[in-house]
Each structure stands twice: as C-alpha cells, then as structure tokens.
Assembly symmetry: D2
Homo-oligomer: 361 residues x 4
C-alpha cells in the first residue's frame, strides 16, 4: 500500500506535517534484540531541522516515544510503534498554499488525486513524513549490526556543481557528521556550504547527490527478477521527497564504457573468499549481493519551495504568482543523509530476513 | 515475492533460459477487454532475438500460448496465464559456465544465494526471463489504451557516447521501430549501429540509455510515500537485467540547477486544464502524476557476457580465465525498448486500478 | 504480515496489554469521507471492559485519539492512525504469569516462538489488541454505510447451552445493545446472563456463538479461488482471540442435508432483481456475494484465564499449578459482538475497493 | 490477490475448467530439495476424477508437467511452474448453463462480478481449479517432510449423518486411501458409500466433514493477531469449493463446555518437552503452534450441481427450471481429502519459512 514498505520487515508510516503527530509501525522485527529509545532518538536528531544554518529553522524537538514491541530494552518480535508529536506548527506561514499550488510540489497532485489535501505544510508530502522512515531505519540498523555486522554510511557527494572526493571503502559516520553539510571531504564541504549559503540568500535552492555504502553485506541477499536488491533500493530511494535519480555502482557513467572495461573480474581473496577486482557492479549482480560493498547514489533536485516569486495557478485554475514564506531548507542534502541510510537499512534487513526464511541462513 | 510484481494488477513470472518454458500469470486484469494472442505476440516479436545483426543470433520462435483468462478474445477477469516454450537451447555453448563464474553476471550470486544454479544460459538470470514481462506488459498496454487512452513509447536515447535527439512529445512507436537500433533519430541511429558493430567485431559489448514516455496519463495516479509512481517505476526499471541507473524528468542533470531554474510553473492550459510550462518533474510530483507526459531514462551497462578472455574464479575458488562462447547481444539496448515499455505499462495499470479502487475513478 | 490485514484497505495494529498504548494505522481509506472521533469512540465504548457485571472489571477509559489522515472531520485518503493509551495496568495481578504458563493461553506459544514475551496481561495476546481492530472497523463501517449503504449487525446467538432465537433479516444494533449480553432475544438473554453469572461465581468461564449479518452488500464482492469473500471472513473471525470455529450460511448443519434440500433456488425478485428463495449459502456463492444477506457464525471457546486452580508447568518445565488472579471476563461473548462487526466491516470494505479497482464499480 | 496465496511460499493458480490448461506457479520454495514429477503426480492422481464409482466419471489424465524451477530433480529456489492440460472437455453437457444459473453455484455471482463468465463447466469455479492447489501442496509437503519431518493426513470424518471414528494420533494415509470414500474406519466407510450411492441414484448430492491432522509441527509456527496459524488455515479451507464451515480442536462443540473442562493442562513430557494433557486447542494457542498435533475439521455442503430439476432464473432474469446433465460428483468428500491436505501444507510451509526468517530457526 501507499504507506507500507517491505515484506518480511514491514514498516507502515503515518502523519501529516501539521497534524497531531507522525510515526511508524514496524512489523516483523526479530525478537530478543537490544533496542533503546536512544538508538532511535540519535538518528532522529541527525534528521531534525534546525541543526545548523544550512537547514530549515523550524524547531521541532522530535522526541520519539516507543509505544509497543519493546520491554525492558529488548524487542518482543511484535510490532514496534513509534510516535513523534508535532510541536512547532506555524500554519499561518502556509495560508497562501490553501489556495495556490506551489510549483513542482505535491500540492496540485494531492488535490487531483484525493479531491482534498492537508494544505498546511504540505501534509503528508512534507519532509516530516521521513521521521517514521528514520525511526524504523534505526531499528533496522540495530538488527543489521547485531546479527550480520553490516555497517551503513551515507554522505553528501555533490551539491550543485561541487563534487566531493569520497573514500567509499573507509568513510565513517563520524567523519560525515563532522561538517554541517555531512560531507567528509573538508575542502569539498566548505565549498558546498558556500553554495548553499548563496542559495539561501538568493531565496533559491540547490540540489545534489547523496552516496551511500553498505559494508559487510554477505553474498546472497536479494532476489532474482522483480525484487532484485538494487531494484528495491531504487524504489526505496526514489520514494524519498525530491529524489529524481538513482544509480548503483558505475551507474550512468558505465554506459560510456565497454564490457571489457567495466566487468568486475573475480579473484580469490583472503581466506579463499570470492571477491572482485573492481566494483562497477556496486555490490549487486543479477539482483543479488556479491559480498562487495553496496554503493548507490541518489540525485535530489533543488527544494521546490523557494522564497522567490513563481508563476502558478490557484485552486480555481486562475494564473497567479506565489512566493513561499515559512522556513524551508535551501538544500535537503545534509538532512537527506540519515534518511538515505535508513532506507538502505530497511531494504537490507528485509532481504536478510527473506533470505534466512527461504534458504535457512 | 521474488517473481511477483504489482498489487492490483499482479504478474508472476517463471522459467529458466534452458528449461522447458518461460511464462507469466497475470492476476487482476479487468474483465470484458478485447485481447487476442496477436496483441501479445506482436510485442514478443519486438523483443525476440535474431531480429537483426545487432542482436544475438539465438533463434527462438517465441510463440506465445494463452492458457487461461480469455474466452473468445475477451478477458474474463480471472488469471491470464501465458506460455512460451524454449526451443533453441544449445546447452553446450555454456559448458564452461558449469564450473566458472562469468564476471559481472549472476552466476556467482545465484550460487551464493541458493547453493545451486541452472548454469545453462544463466537460468533465471537470462534475458529470456523478460518474455513474461513483455507478455504481461502487452495485456497492460491493452488495458491502458482501451480504458484510459494512455500511450507508451520508448526509444534508444544513447549507445556508448552517441546521444540521439528525441522528440519526447511526438515520437511514435512506428518511428522507433524503423531502425534496427530502435532510435527514431536516423542520424544518431546510424552512428549507434556503427558502435555496436564495432563492439561485436571486437568481441566486446556496449551499453546505453533507453528513454520512455507515457502520454495521456491523467493527474492523480501514484501514491504518497513509499509507492510513489516514480518509485515504482524505478523499481520496475532497475529490476531489468543490466539496468544500473534510473532517472525521471530532469534527473541527475537537475542537481546542477537551482530551484528557480527547474521548478515547473503551473499555467492554465486548454479548457482550463492545469498544465506546467516545463516538465522537469517528468510528469510526477510528490509521487503522483500531474497530467504531463511521464518521462524516464534507464541506464543499461554493457552486456556482461563477452567473447574476450576475462579473469575469474571457478566454483572451487581457483583463479582462471573465461571467454564466452555462444550467441550474445553485444548491446541489449534495441531489445530493451519493448521491455522498458512493458514495465512502464505494468506500473501504470497497477496504479490506475488502485486509484480507481480507493478514489472511485 | 503478522499484524497487517487487508489489501486495498489495509490495517496495521500494534500494542501490548500493559505497554504504553495500543492502536492502529489504516491505509487506503477513501478520501472526502466524514469521520469524527466520536464515530470511533462509540464503537470502542461498546468493546471496552467494565460495561456491566458480565465483563471484566478492569477499568479503561479507552479514549481514542486520531493522529493523522483526517482534517476538519474529513478523511484525506492518507493513513489514519489511532491511539489509545493504556491506563489501568495492574501488573502485579500477573506476577505468577511471569514464571508459569496459563493453560490454553498464548503464554507458552509466544515464549516458544520468540524466546521472550510480555508476560504482563498477556501482552499482544490480550483482548486489548482488539482495540485497534474496532477502531479500524469503525472507519470501515463509515465507508460502507456512506458509499454502499451496507449495514452490519452482530449478536450473541448462543452462550453455553442457551441458544437465542435471532431474526437475521431484521435485528438491529439498538435491540442488540439493549441487553448487557448483547442478545436481542430477551428471554434467551436472561438465561444467558444466568449462565455467565454462575460461571463467574464458580471461578470458571463459558463460551458461545456470535452471529453476524451484513445487509445491503451488492452482488459481486469477493474473489474466486483464494480470496473468496467467505474465506477472508473465516480468516478475519478465526484471528480473534478464543475463536475456534466459523461457518457461513447453513454451515456444519448443511452437511446433514441433500443438495436438493439446501440449494438456494433463484427467483425473480422486486424490480427484476435476481434473488434466492432460501439463503443456505449465507449470501456468498463461489466466494462472491450474491446480493442476499451475508450471515456467519463464530464459535468462541470459554475464556482460558479462570480463577480455578489448574495444572501447568513453569518456564523451567517443572509441573506446578496456577490460579489466575486479576480481572477477567467469564465470557467474552458480549464484548465480542462489536469486534466481530469490525472484522466483518474490514473484510467487506477491502473487497468493495478491490471490486471497484478491477471492475470499475 | 484473488488467485495468489501465501507470503513466503507463494502460489499463484490459473486456469478455467474448459480452457486449454490449469496450473500453478510456486514462488519461494527452498532450494536444493529433491523434487520429482512423480511427487506431484501421485497427489494429483489422488485428486483426479474417475477413481471410483463414487466420483464423477469425467476422465482426465491430469498429467502434470514441471516447467521451471527444478533441474535434475533438485529445486533451484526459483519459481516452480506446473501445468496440466485439459483433455476431456464435453462443453455440450453444459449448453443449458450458457443461459441459466445453477442454484447455489457460482454462475450468477461470476456474471454479477465480471459481467462475463466462462460458462462451460463453471470455468474458474470448477473443481479443476484445485489441481493447482494440489500440485503446489505436493511441493509444500515435500519441504515439510524433508526439513521439519511434518506429516499431514486427512480423512473423511462424516458423510451426511454417518460419522466415522477416527484415530487422530495414528491414522495413516495408507489406511485412508484403502477405501474409495477415504475413511479409515471400515465400518463407517461402508455406510458412507451406501449413502453416496443412494444420493447418486436419486440424482441428488450429499455433504460431510473432512478432518485433517498435521503431526510433528514444532511449537512456534504462526503469528499473533491477524495471521494466526488457525486463521490462515480457516481461510485456506473456506477457500475450497463447497466448504462452508471450519473448526480447530474442540471447535463448535467447545462452546457447550466450561473453561475448566476444556483448558489443556500443561505437563512435562518425554525429555522435558512441554506437552498438554488434552488437545482441545487443536495444536494452536494464541494463533501459534504449541507442538501438539494440529487438528481441524472442514464442512463441505452437498454438491450444488444435481441432476434433479430445480427452480432458477435465466440470464435475462426470467424464472425457469434447470436439471444438470454431465458428470458430477454426488459427494465431493473423497476427492476433497488430498485437497485439504494440500491446503494444510501450504499454510504450514508458509509459516515455517516466515518463522525461520524472523526468528532464525
């Protein structure tokens, strides 16, 4: 369904931006796993607005409450429901949106689909919807680390024309979080910050690319045909607000090469393990993990909501103009990092459980 | 599950490359729809190998039989099963694959996952698996055309470094099929053919990009959050063999722009209909169609199976080399065109039925 | 998944008996439907404990909060999350259950499955889990009444050996709720109350049968083969705590008849509508509704938790005895009535939306 | 969807009674399992018509072909498609059904749902649809026996007023198959045969009850809440043609007892294993298996299609009469036995894989 994701580890999110709360229910989590509210809060804090001048100044505590599925810090195997109350809801900033559609936002399409929409703050199309994903992703990451020793790290790889140099094999979450733009390449980060600052001052917005790597995934996760591991990753990522492109491994760049240039030759690795000399496959071959790091890139367009005046129509179809007020991210990239990590985790844990179910390990 | 796709219009494919048959079951098709075996055969003929010197010379009649769900050329609403027998199965060409893994192919990952694999011809990882998709897509396209007047056209937009100039708003399937490379830009097509010929002669392979447009999709298809229309398209496309990248509308290129440059201003169109001045959104905003053409691009890597000698390991983990024999496409792009169209159709019809179910039209 | 029900109208419940809260997320509800919190609270009040001396004296306000999916009393089409806080949680009453398994309860099986359980109050196996079902069912009934004019009424048809005489075609919810045992046959009700009182005084429990009828369901809901309307009803009902039997129409009694005795002859009804002379089919033929009232019966065993001493084992496998303390229903039947209605509604609305999706109306 | 069953072990059936073929696709079967076509054919032979004078004389070879998912008698882990061609299709016998609805059959409801139906032989509502179930069930039974040593045996427990005495703990499939009525109680069997013979001579039909036991199921299979093991069994069984009632363990009879009479006291069994003194629970408590035999009973109504003249309406709504010609079972019970076993197996294997996925074993 619309708001349900996963087959074996299934999450169901809910909540409008300016309603009482947002949250998520996680069904299928393995039992007897240590899980504290702090495990979840830590990830939500990385996602929340107001962390730096780079992000929206909307201030939300985003304090999560675990409502079920956990007793004394241990998972029960039953659904884990998690709730975050909405606090700082300045509906007035959105008054104009009641009657006008923001260009490239979901205002018009929600109205077309449902004949009604929660116009304040974008309702379900708000970035606040991702709180449920991040909370569920925190649980997923706990499972992946505990049971399979899988580690997931994402970073901002590009903001507008600034491309960072990222060490996919070794970059750490600590290094990523060291800069407000979540780019571990300090030089690149500084230039990205300049670009974002300039966009904010201009009442405009910029986009970019998030790279995410999962290390430690064993060979054999994923399915042939439709539920390929990379296909589910593509869906997970393109389901994020403002995501418009996805690639794995060599991605679009590989279309300029020949097979002999980008085929990943197998070799005998440490302990006789099969490894590959290169990783143009991005850790997935035929939809199934091959034991190499899984590497994906996600393109985020510039934020749709900008302070500049834009042409649009109102709900009666008359042409008019709109200029957003309110507090908006000039660039979603820094906050997208923990969200991308969460979606990576949700896909991986789902396939881990499915593989264990069908094949026994 | 692995081989099941869609929620309301659900397809389930089966079959190994060198087993008795491949096929598909379509569940949820609307009743009382005209459907002849010719509707399906036409699309399979566009997919099948041996159409020109550009594609593998494996000769398969690929004759489809409709086993159920249709009586006297009318759909019953019950499952439509379709079957294609495998004919020209030269297992011997694959003897080496019994003991060696082809680089960047699914040989190793299937073995790692299942502890067994149908090594002849790649088994389920073969391009023959797409026969079921194309057959189901033919049914989906019939529904979309009959009920909603939706038209889907894909074309090869790029082969290696050759980029075609495509008229997204007006290109036709007839124009696309006029060249063996399925590119309606005649000049571009000629140069693509040269590139593919060169790759084949070199025992190598090349990749490229397929662009697909769906015209006539009404505003309102798709879902918020996880099952966004573009998220499901991303999954559908990345689930194709050799697909490594997906983008919608402005895609990765949009990451270099500002919001004010790529926001799609709304305007009042013919008959008061809300339209957009540009289509950087690719017809989808907030995961829901906005009535503009849906435009996506899919990156296909160079075919993994090449005739050149490559380094690899055997099933005992010893390093060795492999050079494919057998008949292989030096470039999957021309045959990928009807497959991409099929996947676009499967996603759209699923969301059309879901929208009608929830919202009544 | 375990706690997810439905395909087009999908509910996901969560919550342990003695955790912070129980609740539900409803995904796929049609938009623009009037829905007040009172619509939901009314049904929860019918389900809640402490309504009369017949039911457990546990006192819970069971006040529901709608967290999302509704603005100004109108559904948005997005997920509707509903929450009920747990209040009166006397964990001490359950101390013995920490180390001993109650016979015929879920204590042992949860432990066997998960290796852990929320032993206080039965955790997820508590009757409190049905709060989410009833809340979701209230939404479903609102949809069914508003859009299709379907009316659902359940009643207690039997308690132990007392069988009521019920007028399936005409009984109303008002008549049902007039007696504390929820049986509109006043004479039968009085005798049922005596039986329940006797069981309570004896520290024992009794079971019985709930009958449920849905009137106004049009012909055509349900699916051939696995998702038959009655198959989904069977699953819905047997998924209720203490439910051990299900039958539709003539049910088990029909096995004693001949075909010529229980076939429902068709006849031409008012306005030329096809009706049946009898309704041994219970409104469903071949898994699809035929326009007649849908009539089912559900058998509930005597409550497992009783005050009498019973033989059992402890968590170390040693034989011992247990006698429940705490407040327990000597008979679940009266409170099962709104729960059965809720499940009937969840199945019907799911099939209504599926039928509209596939067949257009 | 309509014709898809299961979550982890998913089957998708297809085929009309008088179309080219019927069959099934099984997705999610564990790999490296021995599976011969004979394993499947054996079960189909038990299901097929014409085995004795008790069943329809329609002669179908019902020869199954495995199209995919198996190589050299070993499962690959990929979808297993199985096909049975329809042979003996005497459409003429059904001519009257083109324009008249058989009472209590699916003719009218299919027409109401889809606006069209395959009138010959009931199309998808024919008993031939169960071929796919039995073929898939044969695979499921192979998995259950090989991996978990689970054994499933069903028998006819009642035909009209004749009740057999069955030894649930010890009855074998061999003993069941020794009588044409599939009842291991020889005296009861003889009387059942008389009843069926009498019905056939009278142009009438009779119903009855099938009992099914699964032995060796470990504690822990099944899910809390909606996907309870017995709830899924109820759905599986009520989805069978002519099934109108389901009960587990003490079932409806338990509604006449008190809790102290039917609670299953735990005791310490051989090797310290937790067992129960009685099995009124039927092997399932709180929706999860407890290690005792799983025992269910399914009520089948008398076959709807009878040779006697009955009142009905035609497709224009005019009142008329109908008397079936063709070859029909006067009693479906004997052939229902392998079908019930198949459905039991499909439910159990699905939950076995789900349990292994979530909880690791």
């Amino acid at each position: 369904m619309a708001s349900v994701f996963g087959q074996a580890f299934r999450v169901s999110t809910f909540g409008e931006s300016h309603g009482p709360a947002v949250g998520v229910v996680v069904d299928g989590c393995p039992p007897r796993l240590g899980l504290d509210v702090a495990d979840v809060q830590r990830e939500l804090d990385r996602r929340k607005p107001g962390q730096s001048r780079l992000t929206t100044q909307r201030r939300e505590g985003d304090v999560v409450e675990i409502l079920s599925g956990v007793v004394d810090g241990i998972t029960l195997g039953t659904p884990i429901a998690m709730l975050v109350r909405n606090e700082d809801a300045r509906g007035r900033d959105y008054d104009e949106m009641r009657t006008k559609y923001r260009p490239s936002h979901a205002d018009y399409t929600y109205q077309a689909k449902y004949g009604i929409r929660a116009w304040e703050g974008g309702g379900r199309a708000s970035a606040r919807e991702t709180i449920g994903r991040v909370a569920a992703g925190a649980v997923a990451q706990k499972v992946l680390r505990s049971v399979w020793n899988v580690e997931i790290v994402a970073a901002v790889a590009q903001v507008k024309d600034i491309e960072a140099s990222l060490a996919v094999e070794s970059m750490t979450r600590e290094a990523v979080d060291r800069t407000p733009v979540r780019c571990p390449d300090l030089d690149g980060a500084a230039r990205m910050i300049d670009v974002i600052d300039a966009a904010r001052k201009a009442g405009d917005s910029v986009g970019g690319v998030v790279l995410c790597v999962a290390r430690g995934v064993p060979a054999g996760w994923g399915e042939p045909v439709f539920d390929k591991l990379d296909a589910d990753l593509a869906k997970a990522m393109i389901s994020l607000p403002a995501a418009k492109g996805f690639e794995i491994g060599g991605g679009f760049a590989m279309t300029h090469a020949t097979g002999s240039e980008v085929n990943d030759a197998f070799r005998r690795g440490a302990g006789g393990r099969v490894t590959t000399r290169t990783n143009f496959s991005g850790g997935v071959q035929g939809g199934i993990s091959n034991g190499e790091p899984i590497v994906i890139r996600v393109a985020f367009k510039p934020t749709a909501t900008i302070l500049r005046e834009q042409d649009t129509v109102d709900i009666d179809g008359n042409e008019t103009t709109i200029a957003a007020r309110g507090r908006h991210d000039p660039c979603v990239l820094p906050r997208a990092v923990p969200i991308v990590e969460a979606m990576m985790a949700l896909v991986l844990v789902d396939h881990a459980l499915r593989q264990r179910g069908q094949c026994g390990s």
